[in-house]
């Protein structure tokens, strides 16, 4: 099967100019591949560089070395090196990113926040709002909150809006950074189901999480990061479960 994403030699070293040019290595030589319709978990202790990997792929971080070949609908691109225009277009149409926390303009309604995730030249304003309403409904956001700013929501509701925004355009590749960190049991279940639904529809997903209860059931494979060596291990879910049993 053709891979959707292949990451090789991904290394990120931060140079802190304000501290006299000190360098901090966040991850080194990360290698993994993602097949279409697959859910890949990234696991590891805090500070192991899990989020850094996602951010490098999404280009919020500038990778120091490595490649991330993504098979887009318009051909293969190295996400780490392609022009920003390509990244912006891919973000708009193909790649979604769920951050750890929702960050929105406090004056924009939840409905609007989700609708803005839809590319405007594809969706008219009214259709986008309809679509957003549907998503919020699926994610069980009470409809009397839709016109309010998500800033006023509970942590769980905020995170669900965050996810709704990221998946509104049905990304082919979804990067999720601790999507369930602030959620209660019920919300976690909802997110889990949403991820499975996206998978069923063909999305490929990379999830960074500590929350194994939610994710070990749904990930197809797991990438384990080790803080000391920054090396990585890949395997199936069972493999990780076995490791956790020790």
């Amino acid at each position: 099967m053709v891979e959707l994403l292949r990451v090789t030699g991904l290394t990120k070293v931060f140079t802190l100019h304000l501290l006299g040019g000190r360098t901090v290595e966040a991850c080194r030589d990360i290698e993994f591949a993602l097949r279409p319709g697959e859910i890949l978990g990234i696991q590891g202790p805090s500070g192991a560089g899990k989020s850094t990997i996602l951010k490098c792929i999404y280009r919020t971080y500038v990778a120091t070395a490595g490649q991330a070949w993504y098979r887009s609908l318009r051909g293969s691109v190295d996400l780490l090196a392609c022009p920003v225009q390509t990244i912006l277009a891919l973000r708009r149409f193909e790649i979604g990113y769920v951050s750890q926390f929702l960050r929105v303009v406090p004056r924009v309604s939840a409905l609007q926040v989700v609708a803005e995730g839809l590319p405007r030249n594809e969706w008219t304003q009214s259709r986008a709002l309809q679509e957003a309403a549907r998503l919020l409904e699926h994610l069980r956001i009470p409809c009397d909150l839709w016109e309010a700013s998500p800033c006023t929501f509970s942590g769980g509701e905020q995170q669900r809006v965050n996810i709704a925004r990221a998946v509104a355009h049905r990304p082919r590749l979804l990067l999720m950074d601790e999507p369930t960190a602030s959620l209660d049991h019920e919300s976690r279940r909802l997110v889990q189901e949403l991820i499975l639904e996206l998978k069923r529809q063909g999305s490929s997903i990379v999830v960074v999480s500590h929350d194994w209860q939610t994710f070990n059931q749904i990930t197809d494979r797991v990438l384990r990061l080790d803080q000391e060596s920054k090396a990585c291990v890949t395997g199936g879910s069972q493999h990780v479960e076995a490791a956790a049993d020790h």
Binding site: F14, T15, L16, H17, L18, K55, R59, T60, Y61, V62, L73, R74, V84, Q85, T86, I87, L88, A89, F93, E94, V105, R107, V108, E116, P119, R120, N121, E122, Q125, R134, H138, L139, H169, R170, R172, R189, L190, E193, L194, E197, L198, Q201, G202, S203
Partner: protein, 301 residues
């Protein structure tokens, strides 16, 4: 299991629409090596100034290198930020592109001007005036620069329309009231002098004027600087809204990283007249590369 149903959501449909939205391959605005030097200038000016020299004043001839070697591409419908401290050359940059200042060197091509084949910085004054009035809009920090404060709000908008050959008072007023409605200026203020308006409303009239001839490109030069926080928020919301609704390309100049974060996809960081870093706005804020950008980001409150 089975609480959520996503029936009716069809990924295949969304994807198939994608082919119709290729990455735009030709930028709306292409700028190469834009340079503006105040003073007589010498051969050493550009070499002896800049962020490494820590100054934009030439040590030999004392000319001021306001900006030098600025290059970038701005694509249709995109918001681009230019950030930097006072005196970094960011305002000079947009004012050169809007022909308020002449450029000392460099080229700029606008897709909608002769198919992007002619350097508009070298065009005649008439041509430049045509470009200014038909293909660009400008919103200045100071409403005095962008508005005639002793002409009515409607008259200010009319000026742009009249330049475009709209010689019908009724239709001018129709268009002006539509623009004022979009920019949330009460209709009854249309025939009042902007001199008597609040700062926020003056800015909104300026925005309406800038949009009068449906330009594909609008420059925003520190539009919210000097406004109250709540007024600032309303103006920024308006800009976001207009951008989404009209699909304009905008070049947003600000020293305020929050404004840049709120509005733009892509950002140039300027210091001492040079671009020291350029990249996706979230990358500039999340993983700044240049020492100056790191300082700038770390100074965020």
């Amino acid at each position: 299991m089975g609480g959520i149903e996503l029936s009716g959501l069809n990924i295949a449909d969304t994807f198939s629409g994608l082919q119709g939205n290729p990455v735009p391959d030709e930028p709306l605005l292409r700028v190469r090596g834009l340079t503006r030097i105040y003073g007589r200038g010498c051969a050493e000016c550009v070499v002896r100034t800049g962020p490494e020299a820590g100054s934009n004043i030439c040590p030999i001839c004392a000319s001021i290198v306001a900006c030098a070697g600025v290059s970038f591409d701005l694509y249709a419908g995109e918001m681009m930020g230019v950030v930097g401290e006072s005196g970094s050359g960011k305002s000079t940059l947009v004012q050169c592109l809007y022909f308020d200042h002449t450029s000392s060197a460099g080229e700029a091509y606008l897709k909608s001007y002769r198919g992007g084949a002619v350097n508009m910085l070298g065009s005649s004054a008439q041509e430049q005036r045509h470009i200014r009035h038909h293909l660009m809009g400008m919103v200045y920090q100071n409403p005095h620069q962008g508005l005639r404060l002793d002409c009515t709000a409607g008259g200010n908008i009319a000026e742009k329309l009249l330049t475009a050959g709209f010689f019908h008072v009724g239709r001018i007023r129709e268009r002006a009231s539509e623009l004022l409605r979009r920019t949330e200026v009460p209709m009854e203020r249309m025939d009042h002098l902007p001199r008597h308006f609040s700062g926020g409303m003056q800015q909104r009239v300026q925005i309406a004027k800038a949009l009068a001839n449906n330009p594909p490109l609008v420059f925003l030069d520190e539009v919210t600087t000097g406004l109250d926080v709540s007024v600032q928020a309303r103006v920024l919301d308006l800009i976001r809204h207009l951008h989404r609704e009209l699909g304009l390309a905008m070049l947003v100049v600000s020293h305020n990283l929050d404004v840049i974060r709120l509005l733009t996809d892509y950002t140039l960081v300027m210091k001492s007249g040079r671009v020291v870093e350029a990249g996706l706005t979230d990358q500039i804020l999340g993983d700044p590369q240049h020492p100056y950008t790191q300082l700038l980001v770390s100074s965020l409150l």
